[in-house]
């Protein structure tokens, strides 16, 4: 009897409306996903630009990109997040000061996306560079011979062909992005992990809330894995049929 009563009080703590924390947890999950999506997207853009720079840029560009990817991959995300968080908001306010605008408070969401994006960019540069160099040179030469512009070659030939090779690495990066958002809890951004900590500390039901949050993260991973598998099958199929 005691056990059933315990379980029902525990579950009532996870109810969606206050005093239950379920709604707050889901809201946290939503902001985690927002940052993960934004950061991942920004990282992809940086990655594509970086990979093009590393493969087709001049020597200075390649060396600078090498410094960027090496440094970001050697410094812990936690330190980078603190550095970029302070440096980024300082920089923005400095620029605003020069333009004689009043200083602003950087939105936590924007800062989070920026930080995760910079970190992800370094890794996806390497992934995309590897995938791009697997494209047969003849395909690109043929596209140029047809009279396409560099931008069109990138959009029509390089990116679609690169995707098959890059998918394993890029999907791994997506999973890392969803988990890296938890680090923003340390700088006080209210995403899933921080809300979980507040809920656990407030109610003293540590195990319950951490396990619930773990299940939420795990379901994101499992759903992503399922989606990635579908996408992979689709890409392989289209590649085989051409």
């Amino acid at each position: 009897m005691q056990l059933i009563a315990d379980i029902s009080t525990s579950l009532s703590l996870l109810a969606f409306s206050p005093p239950g924390w379920g709604g707050a947890l889901l809201k946290g999950l939503l902001s985690s996903l927002q940052i993960a999506l934004g950061g991942y997207g920004l990282g992809l853009l940086i990655g594509i630009a970086g990979a093009c720079g590393k493969l087709y840029g001049n020597a200075v560009c390649r060396d600078l990109l090498g410094c960027y990817t090496t440094a970001v991959r050697a410094v812990p995300e936690l330190v980078l997040i603190l550095l970029l968080y302070y440096a980024g908001s300082d920089l923005v306010n400095q620029v605003l000061h020069w333009l004689s605008y009043p200083p602003i408070d950087i939105n936590g969401l924007v800062a989070g996306i920026f930080v995760i994006g910079i970190v992800q960019g370094a890794y996806s540069t390497e992934v995309i560079r590897g995938a791009m160099s697997a494209i047969p040179v003849g395909h690109i030469e043929a596209a140029f011979a047809c009279g396409m512009r560099p931008w069109q070659v990138l959009k029509r030939i390089i990116l679609p062909e690169m995707l098959v090779h890059a998918l394993p690495g890029l999907s791994n990066l997506w999973l890392i992005a969803t988990k890296d958002t938890a680090l923003l809890a340390v700088v006080g951004f209210t995403e899933l992990t921080l809300i979980t900590k507040q809920a656990a500390g407030g109610t003293k039901h540590h195990m319950l809330f951490y396990c619930a949050a773990g299940l939420l993260y795990l379901s994101v991973t499992l759903i992503s894995n399922w989606g990635i598998k579908k996408l992979d099958n689709h890409l392989r199929h289209t590649k085989a049929s051409t």
């Binding site: 050697a74 160099s133 040179v137 795990l218």
Partner: protein, 260 residues
């Protein structure tokens, strides 16, 4: 534009210019930023660095030892064992390390004191500190990521070599120790180096459960002195040096690789 880019000479002119520019930036930082706190905190920094290093070394060691059975079970084990090992890895790899750390430290830490037999045991003085929880969580996490690599490495050992070993009359254990393990280890070595660097990058998380590692020391410096950038930059430099050393060590081991 299409040709594979030519490798850059080690002392190409632009590199010398870039080196000069970065030397100027570093010189500017040394001269104009505040570094007076370094002397006051040097003892604590060394202690923190030592804690980070042993935490990394022990968690990699324990994690690797745990990854061997996990990887082997997934590659060659019976179905139920393989499924159990696989789901363990999926759960650990599918949740953030920070959450696991807090689950273990706050969750288990709140349950242990309510169990009298644990409170009276010899281990209790240790269980009241943060480091056993940190070491445990980091080891488990490393094991899960490394098991995935070891699974591939075990599965990639040619069947013929194992059959040959069995045919000569080696026992199952000898087969494992003489053929399977060394072959798989050298196969996994290039990725192992990368995993260890990733593990190093995960160690500062233990500062959030009150363990005073190198990251926590610099957080303390920032709180005490109200200096924002200098401690963070110095900390980043320490981690870069650590990562470079780890990379060098693993390159060295890899070059001694007897299997080609």
């Amino acid at each position: 534009m299409l040709k594979k880019p030519a490798p850059i000479a080690r002392f190409a002119p632009h590199r010398i210019i870039l080196a000069l520019i970065s030397a100027a930036v570093v010189g500017y930082m040394i001269y104009f930023l505040r570094w007076d706190w370094l002397a006051d905190y040097s003892d604590k920094i060394w202690i923190g660095l030592w804690r980070t290093v042993w935490l990394l070394a022990l968690s990699v060691l324990f994690g690797f030892l745990l990854a061997l059975p996990l990887g082997l079970a997934q590659a060659n084990g019976p179905k139920p064992l393989a499924i159990m090992a696989n789901s363990f890895c999926t759960v650990i790899r599918g949740t953030p390390l920070l959450l696991q750390l807090w689950l273990i430290y706050y969750g288990l830490g709140s349950i242990f004191p309510t169990i009298p037999s644990i409170r009276q045991s010899e281990l209790w003085p240790y269980l009241r500190q943060a480091w056993p929880y940190a070491l445990f969580t980091l080891s488990i996490s490393f094991a899960a990521y490394e098991a995935e690599i070891m699974r591939g490495a075990f599965a990639g050992v040619p069947k013929g070599e194992l059959e040959a070993a069995r045919a000569i009359g080696m026992s199952r254990w000898q087969c494992f120790r003489r053929i399977l393990l060394p072959r798989a280890f050298y196969r996994a070595l290039p990725t192992l180096g990368g995993e260890v660097v990733l593990q190093m990058k995960a160690t500062p998380l233990v500062a959030t459960i009150t363990m005073i590692d190198i990251y926590a020391v610099f957080s303390k410096v920032r709180q005490d002195t109200f200096i924002t950038y200098e401690p963070l930059l110095f900390l980043a430099l320490i981690y870069i040096v650590l990562a470079a050393l780890l990379t060098l060590v693993f390159k060295h081991i890899e070059n001694r690789n007897p299997v080609h």
